[in-house]
């Protein structure tokens, strides 16, 4: 019996310590890089970590010369998730809005606007985007997001934010300016139907905002291949303090934005074919 127990413990330890097993390891360079063809690049999400590391090494991203006032390029993989450690308490009204986002099902977030391809809006597109690209023009910076295949315009021609815009926008109205080597973006005029972000703690809620939310971002190119970003959500009706997230995005030298459109008919078809039948709460 003692030997039997020892054998079991040894085998269990082998199970627990087998993270190096080939089948369990994350995909690497053995996976062929998929591109549309010669001269075309892959999309930011279409290459695994090993290929990304190899591309960045080939591009000498750590030592490559760079202009600190040029943030153009394809950045990141999936966005910078909002920092839950700095999430401030809700106001009573904010708590009410948060409660209203609660899923009808304990098993998936049935109220996520993304399920039916409603726009992610901003700053959710900052937190979840499959990669993004900055393009700098003389009077504006364009930011393209892979997820939802959408963009926003950050005006740098000196205009001010509209105090009372005639129509509210999912991505808001954005203006930008340089302060030293830091690019500062201010955004307001948000449509309040989007979420700031989904709440990944259990996936049953979203973080709400009002149309009075303001978002302030900073971007600083630390070197050729690294972009430091901060994002602050200011919405006193919902959050008792400003909510700041800090993170970095990495340059993806061998990637170009693809076409991840959120197609309503495809999303509805997907949910009808697999999510809803699998949900015990709705399948009955």
């Amino acid at each position: 019996m003692r030997n039997f127990t020892i054998e079991s413990v040894i085998l269990l330890a082998a199970f627990l310590g087998s993270g190096r097993a080939a089948w369990a390891q994350k995909p690497g360079l053995e996976v062929p890089l998929v591109t549309p063809g010669p001269g075309w690049k892959t999309c930011p999400r279409c290459e695994n970590e090993a290929h990304v590391a190899e591309d960045r090494k080939k591009a000498n991203v750590d030592t490559h010369a760079f202009d600190p006032h040029d943030i153009s390029g394809v950045w990141g993989d999936n966005g910078i998730e909002l920092d839950l450690k700095t999430l401030p308490p809700f106001t009573p009204y904010g708590q009410t809005l948060y409660n209203a986002t609660k899923s009808d099902s304990p098993e998936w977030n049935s109220k996520d606007p993304m399920n039916i391809c409603d726009p992610l809006g901003y700053p959710r597109a900052f937190a979840y985007n499959y990669g993004m690209e900055f393009i700098q023009l003389p009077d504006r910076v364009l930011q393209f997001f892979e997820l939802s295949h959408t963009w926003r315009t950050i005006w740098t021609d000196g205009r001010k934010l509209p105090p009372h815009p005639p129509i509210l926008r999912y991505m808001g109205y954005s203006v930008g300016r340089w302060d030293g080597d830091t690019f500062i973006v201010e955004t307001s005029g948000f449509d309040d139907r989007s979420w700031v972000s989904e709440d990944r703690r259990g996936r049953r809620h979203g973080f709400p905002h009002t149309s009075e939310m303001r978002v302030v971002e900073t971007y600083k190119r630390l070197n050729y291949g690294m972009l430091q970003a901060t994002l602050t959500v200011i919405d006193p009706k919902v959050y008792t303090q400003a909510w700041t997230t800090t993170g970095t995005a990495t340059l993806r030298p061998n990637a170009e934005i693809g076409e991840y459109l959120c197609v309503p008919s495809d999303s509805i078809d997907f949910n009808n074919r697999n999510t809803l039948p699998a949900d015990a709460a709705t399948a009955k």
Binding site: N3, E7, L16, P27, V263, P277, A283
Partner: protein, 155 residues
């Protein structure tokens, strides 16, 4: 004795890696799926290479000989290119496959796909981020599966 230990250990491995502890990937959670994984030999009926998630439909004969059509989800096409080099041509109707899936808690023939092999044993997709799990948990699942298959082959 060793085989007995293996069985006990495999069972224990299943018990100590409940789905509740698997981190959630992508924007969908993994709470819809059972903890246990099953392997199904089947024939591809449909391969839907689209966002938000790729779907595979395959037919399986159950123990009574009745043909049941199963549906399973994978990650996005973009993620599958990264994780397995898959493309829109990787699977086609009529392909003989072995699907490793976690079935739906609801009991419906729906699932999340963990791995795909062809009937000859070659691997189509060994890593499915949609099925969740840390590297260590994936290692345990893989080892558990291989042990069960080896045990079955011996018997």
């Amino acid at each position: 004795m060793l085989r007995r230990s293996l069985k006990i250990t495999a069972l224990f491995a299943i018990l100590v890696f409940p789905v509740a502890n698997w981190p959630v990937l992508a924007h969908h959670g993994t709470a819809l799926w059972q903890a246990g994984e099953v392997a199904q030999k089947g024939t591809v009926v449909d391969y839907v290479w689209r966002n938000p998630h790729v779907l595979v439909v395959w037919s399986v004969k159950d123990d009574s000989g009745k043909v049941v059509q199963w549906t399973g989800e994978l990650a996005s096409p973009e993620s599958l290119m990264a994780d397995g080099g898959m493309t829109r041509d990787t699977l086609k109707p009529g392909d003989a496959v072995i699907m490793y899936v976690r079935p739906a808690k609801s009991g419906a023939p729906n699932s999340v796909i963990d791995q795909i092999k062809r009937a000859d044993g070659t691997t189509v997709l060994r890593w499915s981020r949609q099925a969740g799990g840390t590297e260590e948990e994936r290692a345990a699942r893989t080892k558990n599966r291989e042990a069960a298959e080896a045990d079955k082959a011996k018997n």
